[in-house]
Symmetry: C2
Subunit: 377 residues, 2 copies
DNA sequence: GTGAAAGCGCTAACAG
DNA sequence: CTGTTAGCGCTTTCAC
């Protein structure tokens, strides 16, 4: 019979290099390849006996379905791209280390839970980088801090691949959805906290780049100052330069109109400010209140412990992935979705003039910022 | 003609959803699909004119070759798995945060430079996790800190997929190659440094887990003590628990045989020790010398700045990728390769009793540890 | 219930 | 130098 001949041909001719194919399993189990496919994928309505038999044979042969073939056939790879926009030479920086690490960890975890894996891809600064992007079959992509006219995002969307961004896209980037913190509310809330703690002139350590985070936070600061009749006192520096932060912190405290409280937008600003304060003989929090935006746990045990604003990157990563996979699996025609996530102010000794004690601060006090819509979980 | 009919059939019947296929390009350019393939991949010896023409048509049509099809056909996906063994609930922790982040950054960068992308995959603790692994076509895999009998590694090797590990594999794990630091040399060198700085009794903050890093470092410490006639003074704690480190640091300094110098194996130990020292009124470095293994830059601006041992994760990541891609592209029959990489002791104020100054330590002094073979770059 | 056959989009032999 | 053809290994109608 033709069938038999076919099987023989395949078995004899397997150049698969030792790895068993679906045909080998079918032959060994004495069924057709359709049955094998159905049995292994839980499709069709086969008798349980057949299903078990096929599975045991497949196991015995050490059969692994070919991901490439499955992808080609079904059009889904189970792969999600992850990229972060950079402002430098490297294909991607991990400025805000802890933020990225935690965001990526949560995203990876959430993706895996739904059967997807993340592929780390470069921000397409170089033309060469495009090659890698089109060499991998992506079901969707996560972009962290997309730049206003990201060519990769544009291209992906054109191809009909869903893109969800961490950080609201500037310009008219056509992302499928985005997730972001309510940066204005967070900064406003934080400045109120400092004012309550007795700050009269609050300074800001900000960045020179034009990304949304920096822009929104700075604007919120300026508005707050305006509303409270305070002259803005700030220093801006290139956030990707590790040394520039220390210099900027120093400059801020060297000013004639030296602030009595400072908020630093970037992770290392806390230690930078502490070091600068020591150089000027300023005691924290007695002479200077300090707060910075950070996900790092080192600020729990600095001297003194420093109050931090957490953007809750884990929650963001999880949400981004949920939105993305929903878009991948659902009908992609839905309206543009976005979700604004709450932040968390972790109050420690550096921003409290009263009740300062040499003991450890009991445990992180959490002040929920006044967050508007927010969402599930 | 058959050809013409074929083309018409395809054009009419493209269910590709708007995306152009290689046939569309061929039709539009008036050549065969082979010519298109060759023109785009720089194969064959076509006239430059044809090549350019085909390329321009492809561009105009927005043609993107299907990665899935290419992978199926060629057997190479351009994808490399990245996984880190964990000791907890999460599919992967980023203990030693900065270490992992930097290692991954360098590895990603090195891979991209050679046209590969990294896929983040879970340590296979759960059975469910196996699914994801076999759902992605991998050309090779990087494993960080492989556990002694990692089932995923075993399975991959069985399938003939190259695996390179960061950290020498314990047991008889059959990895293709590995890269590691010379931990014994690093620790020995570091202890010598402390002794030279005047330490009489050096304590160790170590971990309870049995991974190679912890084991080798601890052993080196014990041997050093033996050689120098010092009683070992150490506390071990579960390294993945963020609070346990602070407690262990405290316990170490509370001992009756309190050490006058401490080396902490894990990243947060520096701040933990500093905090504990403050609680006991110990001045660093006057009463206590402190060193920890860390990649974090915060230790440059703590008070005082802390001497750290850097494992140079960037170099390790790069090397791991080079070895892996060489194995993927070369004939895989080569002998098991391994490479031992140097570490770097960054000496700061916390380990120097003389010359202590309120100024910043000029700049990181680098002491090359006595490293044996080492290698290229 | 089970099997045969038709491709997914591409690359690599091999003809012309 | 260019075109035709045969699959890569799988899923999926559609007959039986």
């Amino acid at each position: 019979m033709t069938a038999a001949k076919h099987q023989v041909t395949r078995s004899a001719g397997r150049r698969t290099g030792g790895r068993a194919g679906i045909r080998d399993v079918a032959a060994a189990a004495g069924v057709s390849i359709t049955t094998v496919s159905d049995a292994l994928n839980g499709k069709g309505r086969l008798p349980d006996a057949t299903r078990r038999h096929v599975r045991s044979v497949a196991d015995r042969l050490g059969y692994r379905p070919s991901a490439a073939a499955r992808t080609l056939r079904t059009g889904k790879s189970g792969l999600i791209g992850l990229t972060v926009t950079t402002y430098g030479e490297e294909p991607f920086t991990f400025t805000e280390f802890a933020y990225f690490a935690e965001m990526a960890r949560a995203a990876t975890s959430a993706a895996l839970a739904r059967g997807y894996a993340l592929v780390i891809l470069p921000a397409a600064s170089q033309h060469r980088d495009f090659d890698v992007w089109s060499n991998v079959a992506l079901d969707g992509t996560v972009v962290i801090d997309p730049s206003d006219h990201d060519p990769v995002v544009t291209e992906l969307v054109r191809q009909g691949i869903p893109v969800v961004s961490d950080g609201r896209p500037g310009g008219s980037l056509p992302v499928t959805a985005w997730v972001d913190n309510d940066h204005e509310a967070a900064v406003t809330n934080l400045l109120d906290h400092l004012a309550t703690a007795g700050a009269r002139r609050i300074g800001l350590l900000t960045g020179t780049s034009t990304d949304t985070y920096t822009r929104l936070s700075t604007t919120a600061y300026l508005h707050w100052c305006e509303r409270h009749g305070q002259d803005p006192v700030y220093e801006a520096y290139p956030a990707h330069d590790p040394c520039a932060g220390a210099v900027a912190a120093d400059r801020l405290l060297a000013r004639p109109d030296r602030p009595d409280a400072v908020y630093g937008l970037f992770d290392p600003n806390g230690t930078d400010l502490l070091a600068a304060a020591r150089r000027y003989g300023l005691r924290v929090p007695d002479d200077l209140l300090v707060v910075c935006c950070s996900e790092s746990s080192v600020y729990a045990s600095t001297e003194p412990p420093i109050t931090t604003l957490s953007l809750k990157p884990g929650r963001i990563g999880t949400t981004v992935i949920q939105l993305l996979i929903d878009a991948i699996e659902g009908q992609s025609g839905r309206a543009e979705a976005h979700q604004v996530m709450p932040t968390e102010l972790i109050v420690r000794a550096s921003s409290q003039r009263i009740g300062r004690s040499p003991r450890r601060v009991p445990s992180a006090t959490v002040v929920a910022p006044r967050t508007p819509p927010a969402a599930d979980q």
